[in-house]
């Protein structure tokens, strides 16, 4: 046998343009895995010269799956640069928007992107290993999944104007009132959604039991973790950033505006997406991961009761910190629960239909500001500099996915070693596929 390079192009069921280059030695052992992200569109450059208040319209186009976090990180960055504090009711509406996205994205990710592997088996036929096939084979699960996504997406549209690329957040508040009729409608619908979410928790538990072997054995990769929290609670809209080291120690706890001290961006030779890491530790030692599991690791507890029970269950089973890459799916379900609980609380809050949503006097000024939120796939940070007319002069952005790519690559390398070198997949206990 000679040295061999395997290309997997494209990496599927993942948004963005990824390819894998897998290099094997003569003996067929794993030499290296590269995750090649094949495109980027240079938002950080072409936002220059634009009206800063338009950045929240432009930047959602970075990601159509999670445009709401970009919309809000963007508006928060401008508000920070202009020293503007939006009215409390506007902040509640934004939180509702972000949680609605968190919910639909997690549901989409679980059912359309991840579940096919669990339900059809990771080695299943590609024609069957997808959500379309799941819908055909398990119509009840499929229908429930679609209705959960629908609830989240329609709530996004009701608050943001459009589910894909929302438009209503503006420096100084929100442009559109959330009507009482809409509030009542979504509050009513949320009752079913809570039930579906609990059913999803049960489904996830079954998957966890069935796949206990791969979850606990395959791709268990100790890294640093990054995530937002608010007084220790898992938080997605506003808070402080925490970094946890592989041993589980909190090594940094800082305001997002001080990110430059902690964030390093390594530019790999072979990927258009940079690898973000914990700067004080250097690269690759300081590689961190963000996203669901990272948030669940850095937070002391969940912000809502049912989600907290679910987190406790996961920690009882796997500890803290959890390094098992497959536990990301579990953590996703825990966050799904928090999202619906928070939405319910917000929908019941009388402020949510307030008409006092926007300051009437918002003045641009020269300065810079950081806006940071948690996107479903991890911590998202926008940093803008504006001139005294409120025109953007410079932009730095660290998007959610880039916090995960290096960690993802590590997980793939680990799983790759286990599979190519130790033939781990042959000894792992896998259940019979459900479809």
């Amino acid at each position: 046998m000679t040295e061999k390079t395997i290309k997997i192009s494209p990496v599927t069921r993942l948004e963005g343009h990824g390819e894998l280059t897998i290099k094997l030695t003569k003996e067929g052992k794993l030499k290296d895995i590269q995750f090649n992200v094949g495109s980027t569109r240079f938002f950080e450059k072409f936002l220059e010269g634009r009206f800063a208040e338009e950045a929240p319209r432009i930047s959602p186009r970075i990601c159509g799956i999670c445009p709401e976090p970009h919309h809000l990180a963007s508006v928060k960055a401008v508000e920070a640069a202009w020293d503007v504090t939006p009215p409390p009711a506007a902040v509640k509406l934004r939180r509702l928007l972000l949680n609605a996205k968190q919910f639909s994205s997690h549901a989409l990710h679980f059912f359309a992107l991840a579940a096919p592997d669990f339900l059809a088996g990771p080695l299943g036929d590609p024609a069957k290993r997808n959500v379309v096939a799941i819908i055909k084979a398990l119509p009840d699960v499929g229908k429930m999944a679609l209705e959960m996504m629908q609830f989240g997406q329609e709530l996004c549209a009701a608050v943001g104007g459009k589910a894909v690329h929302p438009v209503t957040a503006i420096p100084g508040g929100m442009l559109n009132v959330f009507s009482e009729e809409k509030r009542d409608e979504f509050l009513k619908r949320s009752e079913d959604v809570v039930q579906w979410t609990l059913a999803t928790v049960d489904l996830a538990k079954k998957v966890v039991q069935d796949y206990w072997d791969p979850i606990t054995k395959l791709a268990v990769v100790p890294t640093y973790y990054l995530g937002l929290h608010n007084k220790g609670n898992l938080e997605i809209y506003d808070g402080k950033l925490r970094v946890m080291d592989p041993e589980g120690k909190i090594v940094a706890d800082f305001k997002p505006e001080n990110y430059r001290k902690y964030y390093g961006e390594y530019v790999p030779k072979y990927s258009y997406a940079t690898h973000v890491y914990y700067k004080p530790e250097g690269y690759p030692k300081g590689i961190w991961r963000a996203n669901t599991l990272a948030r669940c690791n850095v937070a002391d507890q969940m912000a809502t009761p049912i989600a907290q029970d679910a987190l406790k269950e996961m920690r009882d089973a796997l500890g803290r910190p959890i390094h098992a890459t497959f536990a990301y799916h579990w953590a996703r379900i825990i966050e799904l629960v928090q999202a619906i609980e928070e939405m319910t609380i917000l929908l019941k809050d009388p402020d949510i239909v307030s008409t006092d949503l926007k300051l009437s006097d918002v003045q641009p000024m020269k300065g810079d500001g950081v806006g940071c939120v948690e996107a479903p796939r991890g911590t998202l940070l926008h940093h803008y500099w504006t001139d005294d007319q409120g025109i953007i002069t410079k932009v730095n952005m660290v998007v959610a996915t880039n916090n995960n790519i290096a960690g993802l690559e590590l997980s793939l390398k680990e799983a790759g070693k286990q599979i190519f070198n130790q033939k781990a997949h042959e000894s792992l206990k896998l259940p019979e596929p459900m479809i």
Binding site: E54, I58, C63, G64, V132, Y266, G390
Partner: protein
């Protein structure tokens, strides 16, 4: 019988896909009509599976995104060859998309900002290994290959895509309307006589009344009426993300023409109100503007 369909993403945000998925339960009516032969977002087929299909074997090929990389160009050409009906899906595909705004700069400057000068970058370099390389500037897909159907929108609404698919699946033509967002907009209008333009964060937009009449730049008048006036309906100015109606060849020229007619202002005031006309008048379609094409041709000549 189910028709063979492929959905591909060039450089894009995947929002067009998300918008299609947002048909939710209605997907259950559409899916049985389709045999998906390629859709990396959802199905595990690989690029070589697509490359190995016979030419013209796909009934409908949807292309989202624009050509920012050489790999994108390759994919676009394959999709053209394999598809009987090639659909430019979304404003990225039809006009070059929001990333077309980058055509204001040379590629070198874009790369520098991102990889050499970004605040957090610790070891600057321009990635090259196992990567296809970038295109110098963005050229809209219909100028690169022959496209059969245009469906603009950023993203097209779920219904827009459903309507187009339904028409194409039943061998009916799919034509774009000549109407504008204003034609679809429920806001109350008056005689336009604008004395001053306000920026969106200034003051408060009064609900129910035409946003342009209130002195905010709302581009509904120059934008194709396909979205159902989504933004003005939620008290937010239209930024023109669906591009102009089919007869208008340059969005910005159309907007400037209209502003000249409705603005009752000194020329300097008018100019000061729009210090960034490219960003204000060409949101997702700068790459298809005359100006960007001029600069693009110029770039070609310099080399």
């Amino acid at each position: 019988m189910a028709k063979r369909i492929a959905l591909t993403q060039l450089s894009s945000c995947w929002g067009c896909d998300q918008s299609l998925i947002d048909l939710h339960l209605r997907l259950l009516d559409v899916l049985p009509e389709l045999e998906i032969v390629y859709w990396p977002a959802v199905v595990d087929y690989k690029l070589h599976d697509l490359e190995n299909l016979p030419d013209n074997s796909i009934h409908i090929g949807l292309v989202e995104g624009s050509c920012r990389t050489k790999e994108d160009m390759h994919l676009l050409e394959i999709m053209r060859a394999k598809s009987k009906i090639l659909v430019a899906w979304g404003s990225c595909s039809v006009f070059g998309g929001v990333q077309g705004l980058a055509n204001q700069w040379d590629l070198k400057e874009l790369l520098e900002r991102k990889y050499m000068k970004a605040e957090t970058v610790t070891d600057p370099r321009i990635p090259k290994e196992n990567l296809s390389g970038f295109t110098e500037h963005i050229v809209p897909n219909p100028e690169l290959v022959e496209v059969d159907v245009l469906l603009p929108g950023c993203p097209p609404t779920s219904d827009n895509t459903l309507d187009a698919l339904t028409a194409l699946l039943t061998n009916k033509p799919f034509d774009l309307p000549a109407k504008t967002v204003c034609d679809q907009c429920p806001m109350e209008r008056e005689e336009k006589n604008i004395k001053q333009f306000k920026r969106t964060h200034e003051g408060k937009i009064e609900p129910g009344k035409c946003i342009l009449d209130q002195g905010y730049l709302c581009l509904g008048f120059a934008t194709i009426g396909l979205c159902g006036a989504q933004c003005p309906t939620v008290n937010t100015p239209c930024k023109g993300c669906f591009g102009p109606p089919p007869a208008v060849t340059d969005h910005g020229a159309k907007i400037i023409s209209a502003l000249g007619a409705v603005a009752d202002m000194d020329p300097e005031e008018l100019q000061n109100a729009f210090p960034d006309p490219i960003g204000s008048f060409y949101f997702t379609d700068y790459a298809s503007s005359y100006l960007s094409k001029m600069r693009g041709k110029n770039r070609g000549k310099k080399k």
